[in-house]
Amino acid sequence: MELSFAAMTAIETRGLTKDYGLGRGILDLDLAVNEGEVFGFLGPNGAGKTTTIRLLMGMIRPSRGSGSVFGLDVHRQSVDVKRIVGYVPGELPQFGGWRGEEIAAYLAGLRGSVADGEVETVARHLDLDLSRKYREYSHGNKQKLALTLAFMHHPRLLILDEPTSGLDPLHQQAFFELLRDARARGATVFLSSHVLSEVEQVCDRVGIVKEARLITVGPIGQLMGIRTHLVEIEFAGAPPVERLRAVEGLEQLAVADHRISAMVRGSFEPLMSALAGHRVVTFASREPSLEEIFLSYYR
């Protein structure tokens, strides 16, 4: 599912694996994220999202396989990779009694060539007071600091692990504005999230991981519109439950009196054949939300 406007590959993994045993970690990940796109990485806790992100950041070594960011090997050339990446970790660090301004100065110092004005611009946009001690920050303010540090150097690639965690709706919008600005500058974004509405809102494509494996990748529109439909059917008499259960592609069948609801994956033809000879009073079909698609992979 390559996008037509793709200029070059921002992230590429080939058989990338970190195997913690018992199905934990990420296994045989083949993924390509194109430059300029916003890619959403979805999955429940423990599915392998953070492991993937930490592999891309060179924090952990792959068990096998490889990954690259703009052609740079994420392990062997991790310093060069980080020069062009802005990163928000999934679990925020603990800086104790440091003040926000000291953390920003220290990490900007490590990065080098970050103007104080750039930090100020992002902090002001997120309404973050850097004079306070880190331990006095709420979770949301800690997240804002992490975002400030990720955006302060105008990175070519943003790798964001649950970036809106702890942000109130107002500051979520401020974050989306930052994301739009970054994208307008040509930045690529790779973000993991549980908040499907935000993925629907900002992402071009999504990948869904389940039990350490990537199970699907595609443009948001394609995932939402083509593959599955929710149907609700009201029958004049008793629904032909047994026939319906045998229909290929019909999932999550629920029966209540004369009504049934189900998800149809793929073609409607087997369902229509099964309905032949039964009086249907109403038949409603709609495209499921991304949330419903996401959940369908985990039921």
């Binding site: 924090m59 980080k82 301004e101 220290y106 306070r132």
Partner: protein, 539 residues
């Protein structure tokens, strides 16, 4: 799991380590006595004289020795003189953990949200420590008794139990003291630091009283009250009043800590500060040191380093002022004079060199161990990941850490050396300038070696780093102290990093040992680099 069960489990690591050390100490000291003291009265008398030499040297650290020709007397001095340091240190860690650590990790909030009252929560935490402390002391007593039985010179269990009661009272006091301090601070680190300084001062007050100083105020020290009990000596007994005072003070402190905990906000100090005024800031700090390699690490812990510099300088001045008193009393005994002359000490100046040099090297290595502990925490708490998210090589992280240890210990050693130099001039002890300053500067080779070993172990098995370095420090220190006494071969002594440093202030630099320390530093750094490149970062 019940609240008490969880509270007990939170002390599991500390209990296991303390009980292990206690058991080991109990067995080792009793068996070592049987092995080395001899069986006939003449051998015992000779052993007692030799150990008295060591004891007098260590009087700032251990009680004054007596009856060292008997198993009970030796155990009273050697084992129950040193055990309070181990148990007090554990109490300090446990008190700061119970008073602040749980709060930092959000556990207190979780329990209170689950409907547990503040009173029940905190009293359960206190009770859990008192239970595990009792068990840890019991392990020490059992180990000591078993060791004495194995050595065929059993100590009566009654006096041992009484001594255990005194040790438990002291441990409980240290815990309660730390618990109160924790209510006045906002972090575990500051609670541990402030309570540690307080307990150190109380310990030194007692140490000074052994040489005739500060006798008027010595009773305020819980360590002085603990020293009153000597039930293992022939005419000794448990000082009921002193132990009762310790237990009473513990109860008062715990009540105070409980009331303070109930009165204050979670995460806040009991001492309320005025609401913060001033303007909001959106720009990074203008502190230039924060942007410089190595100096950034020093800048982040400036108060910690300053505290060490002041503390070590104060200790250095204190030991130097005691020098004349100690040397005069030691050299009055002919056998001690011979021993010190064999060590190279012929007067006040070389005594300063030996005592101060070995103490400073020990404490600076302790500083290095704290630094390594900080590296492990950086990893576990995500700060290392935040740093490595910037475009810096892992090599730089390892080298900066070691460089910061060298620079920090240089600052601390310089402050302490200045204090020794000035105090020595005041008490009229002339020091040889070149030896003194060269020896003081070379002290950094000891923490460098500890840091390098720490770099290796923390890159390999982070959790093992601090325990391993602690064992290296303790074993190395006593190996250096005991080698001249028991005339062990040089290779045994050279396993100690402190022996490699030698006594440069008293007898001149031993370049072989010094270069070995530097070589350990370089080799450790190199191996640490390799391992750190290969390891996964994070929790």
């Amino acid at each position: 799991m019940t609240l008490l069960g969880l509270a007990l489990r939170s002390h599991l690591g500390g209990f296991a380590a303390t009980a292990f050390f206690g058991l080991l100490l109990g067995l080792a000291i009793t068996l070592a006595f049987a092995q080395t003291a001899g069986n006939d009265p003449a051998s015992r008398a000779l052993f007692a004289r030799q150990m008295e030499i060591v004891g007098r040297q260590l009087s700032y650290f251990l009680p004054l020795p007596a009856e060292l020709d008997t198993m009970s007397g030796f155990v009273q001095w050697r084992l129950f003189g040193a055990a309070p340091l181990i148990y007090a240190f554990w109490a300090l860690l446990a008190g700061s953990g119970a008073g602040r650590g749980d709060e930092e990790r959000g556990l207190v909030e979780m329990w209170l949200a689950a409907g547990v009252s503040r009173f029940r929560y905190i009293v359960t935490r206190w009770a859990a420590f008192l239970l595990v402390a009792t068990a840890a002391v019991a392990v020490l007593i059992a180990g000591t008794w078993a060791g004495s039985v194995a050595a065929d010179e059993p100590i009566d269990i009654g006096p041992l139990a009484l001594q255990g009661l005194a040790l438990l009272a002291l441990t409980a006091f240290c815990f309660a003291f730390t618990a109160v301090v924790a209510q006045l601070t906002t972090t575990r680190r500051s609670a541990g630091g402030a309570a540690g300084i307080g307990l150190m001062v109380l310990f030194l007050v007692n140490s000074a009283s052994r040489s005739g100083g500060l006798e008027a105020v010595a009773p305020i020290s819980p360590f002085w009250q603990y020293d009153r009990s000597t039930p293992l000596r022939s005419a000794g007994t448990l000082d009921g009043a002193a132990v009762g005072l310790l237990l009473g003070a513990t109860a008062v402190l715990l009540v105070a800590a409980t009331l303070a905990f109930r009165a204050r906000d979670l995460g806040a100090s009991l001492l309320r500060t005025a609401p913060r005024a001033g303007r909001r800031k959106m720009r990074p700090s203008g502190d230039p040191l924060l942007r410089l390699p190595v100096f950034a690490l020093l800048d982040q812990q400036r108060y910690w380093i300053l505290g060490w510099a002041i503390g070590l300088a104060a200790l250095a001045a204190f030991l130097t002022t005691l020098t004349r008193l100690m040397v005069d009393s030691l050299f009055a005994i002919p056998t001690l004079r011979v021993f010190f002359e064999r060590l190279g000490s012929s007067g006040y100046d070389s005594f300063v060199g030996i005592i101060w040099g070995s103490t400073a090297a020990l404490l600076l290595s302790l500083f290095a161990i704290f630094q390594v502990n900080g590296w492990v925490s950086d990893d576990a708490e995500g700060r290392l990941e935040a740093a490595l998210a910037q475009p810096i090589a892992r090599t730089r992280v390892v080298l900066e850490r070691l460089a910061s240890i060298v620079l920090a210990t240089l600052i601390i050693a310089a402050a302490a050396a200045a204090a020794v130099w000035v105090t020595a001039a005041i008490v009229d002890i002339p020091l040889t300038a070149d030896r003194f300053f060269t020896g003081s500067a070379l002290m950094v080779t000891v923490p460098l070696a500890f840091g390098a070993i720490g770099a290796v172990v923390s890159s390999w098995r982070p959790r093992a780093a601090v325990p391993l370095l602690t064992v290296i420090a303790i074993v190395g220190y006593f190996t250096e102290q005991f080698t001249p006494l028991f005339e062990w071969p040089p290779w045994v002594e050279n396993t100690s990093l402190y022996a490699l440093y030698g006594t440069p202030i008293a007898t001149g630099v031993e370049w072989g040992g010094t270069l070995t320390l530097v070589a350990i530093g370089i080799a450790g750094a190199a191996l640490g680099l390799v391992l750190f490149q290969r390891r996964d970062v994070g929790r």
